[in-house]
């Protein structure tokens, strides 16, 4: 088996381009400037370079290219409904899809009465197990601020038509979220390691204490595993192995969520007080991890897909090693 999980030249070019964009336009100051509102200028910059269109037929790329871009975006803590956009562009028809990919229309994936970006979104979607439906707003909105400082709202919605086949879009949604969380987690661990190298306390740099270094190393290991799983799932998705990709994507999301949350906890321990200051290097990334991780569970759908991938069907005994298929 040869499954090379390093990026090919095309994916690397995309990753490099997104990284440059984030260095230039998604700086901490730029992110802070968007507090309490939709990050229009950052969104426009991303859309202008065609990155929101990566998952579309027009955009030419597949899941691997999307993952390459989103890993970097996660590391930069890009605000806004990035992962929902990649989900939607796989679901919507041409005209609406192009408006979303151009940044003109904003996507909101509703969860109960929680409506992300309710005041600026125009495409509202709701996931119900394996099905996806469009919804419309149905009543007044009560604005609120999320964990990551985003302006969402509470409000009622009403169904407005089911999508025929959402299976591919749901796999891409899992992959996008997994990639974002993996990238964000890696960034946080790198930043924490850099801090530990430079911070002198108790007579030496704190990174030389085993109890500081080992937890960071463990986090890096788990994040690497999660990223590898995400890339493997994307590889299979692009290769047309839909069933295989589905189970792996669910597993990748689960793995990435756990690894990123753990990384956030460990990083904050390493940073000490600096980690909870607005000026510090941690909170912009860790709060996005926390927010994404809170919504990265689709009521067991991914668990069922993971189990199905390994041949376990609900109500039947699990296969044992050596069983014939």
């Amino acid at each position: 088996m040869t499954l090379d999980l390093r990026w090919g030249s095309e994916q690397q070019a995309i990753a490099d381009a997104v990284a440059k964009l984030c260095r230039d336009r998604v700086t901490p100051a730029a992110v802070d400037a968007t507090a309490g509102r939709f990050p229009h200028e950052i969104w426009a910059a991303i859309a202008e370079l065609g990155f929101l269109a990566l998952g579309t037929p027009e955009g030419g790329g597949g899941a691997l290219e999307m993952v390459a871009a989103v890993e970097v975006m996660g590391g930069a803590a890009v605000p806004g409904p990035i992962t929902e956009t990649f989900f939607a562009t796989r679901l919507l028809e041409t005209e609406e899809r192009e408006r979303v990919a151009s940044g003109a229309a904003i996507v909101s994936v509703v969860s109960g009465t929680l409506v992300p970006w309710a005041e600026v979104a125009s495409t509202f979607l709701q996931i119900d197990g394996d099905r996806v439906r469009r919804v419309d707003l149905d009543g007044p909105l009560a604005p609120l601020e999320t964990l990551a400082g985003e302006r969402w709202a509470r409000g009622a919605t009403k169904p407005a038509g089911d999508f025929a086949d959402a299976s591919q879009a749901l796999v891409l949604y899992d992959l996008a979220r997994a990639a974002y969380l993996g990238g964000a987690g890696h960034r946080l661990v790198s930043t924490a390691a850099e801090h530990a190298r430079g911070r002198i306390q108790f007579g030496k740099s704190i990174g030389r204490f085993q109890a500081v270094a080992h937890p960071l190393a463990d986090c890096a290991m788990h994040l690497s595993a999660a990223v590898a799983l995400t890339r493997a799932a994307a590889f299979h998705f692009d290769g047309g192995a839909a069933g295989h990709a589905r189970g792996l994507a669910g597993a990748a999301l689960r793995s990435s969520r756990a690894a990123a949350l753990d990384a956030a906890n460990v990083a904050h321990q390493v940073f000490g007080a600096l980690g909870i200051t607005l000026e510090g290097p941690a909170y912009r990334v860790s709060r996005r991890i926390r927010q994404l991780a809170s919504f990265a569970s689709a009521g067991g759908r991914e668990d069922a897909a993971i189990l199905a991938h390994f041949g376990v069907v609900e109500g039947q005994p699990a296969p044992r090693p050596g069983d014939r298929p």
Binding site: G112, T113, F209, Q210, A211, H214
Partner: protein, 314 residues
Amino acid sequence: MNFEPSDDQRAILDAVEALLTRHAGPKRAALVRQHGGYDEALHQALAEGGFTTIARQEGMGLLEAALIAERVSRHAGVVPFAAQALVAAGLTSEEITGPVALAFDWDVGEPVRFLAQARTLVFGDDDGVKLVTPEPIDVEPVASDFGYPMGRLRAGFTARGRPLGGGAQARLSSLWNLAIAVEATGAMDAALQVTVDYLKVRKQFGRTIGSFQAVQHRLAGCKVLVEGSRWLAYEAAYKNADPEASATAATYASAAAAQVARETHQLSGAIGFTREYDLHVWTLRLQALTLELGGISGHRRVLAALRWNLDGEG
């Protein structure tokens, strides 16, 4: 506030320790497992010592029952002590014939601890909580490697018996949460002690493994989790299994149990997976305990509802 045991409590706990040292322990647990999985002799000894009915004695209550149940679990006693002395005793002053099993209607068809041996099944459903004498026809045994014997209620089981009145389902939940917290604490404590003892002697890389800072800090992290579980459980017991305190204790202990089980195995290395080494006696029990009442997510949902009136919907 006084966190030291009273003289009475100290006397009870000394007597319980002596009894458990004689009648329980991991080696005995392994032996009992080979012979059907329920320790009748230990049950007798605890009953004769008056420990099974401690909660109903003058000047005693759920806290004393909890203190004893923690120790029974720490000594790997293969008896449903907490189910009888804490949960059943907290629900009714009737004399309960043990062994005791606990189930809600959604547990029908699922493995339930000690069900195949139970003389009393405490069963909760929409009508209330009933004390049922399970018939052999109701129960099928389930092969269990979890350190507890398991049984399953057959599909279509209906509970026949007089229901305990007035909010008994909620009371059953609270008491059961408390029991889980207490049993998990005892098991975690023992798992950690086994691991610490091993790491003090195991040499590798030129020194005892326990002398590495990374190892010490992880053990310290586990100790913090065990102590947190312990004191939240004691608080809930002291408050007579107050619903929110009990849910808090169960939530914390379940999360702690998952981590302590993982860490103790990671730190014990290959020997931790052998039957000859005792760690599995407690870590397998921790797995079983953390599956009850919906596991960590179930506990979190209950706690969120109790503390903030949240129903778990988005």
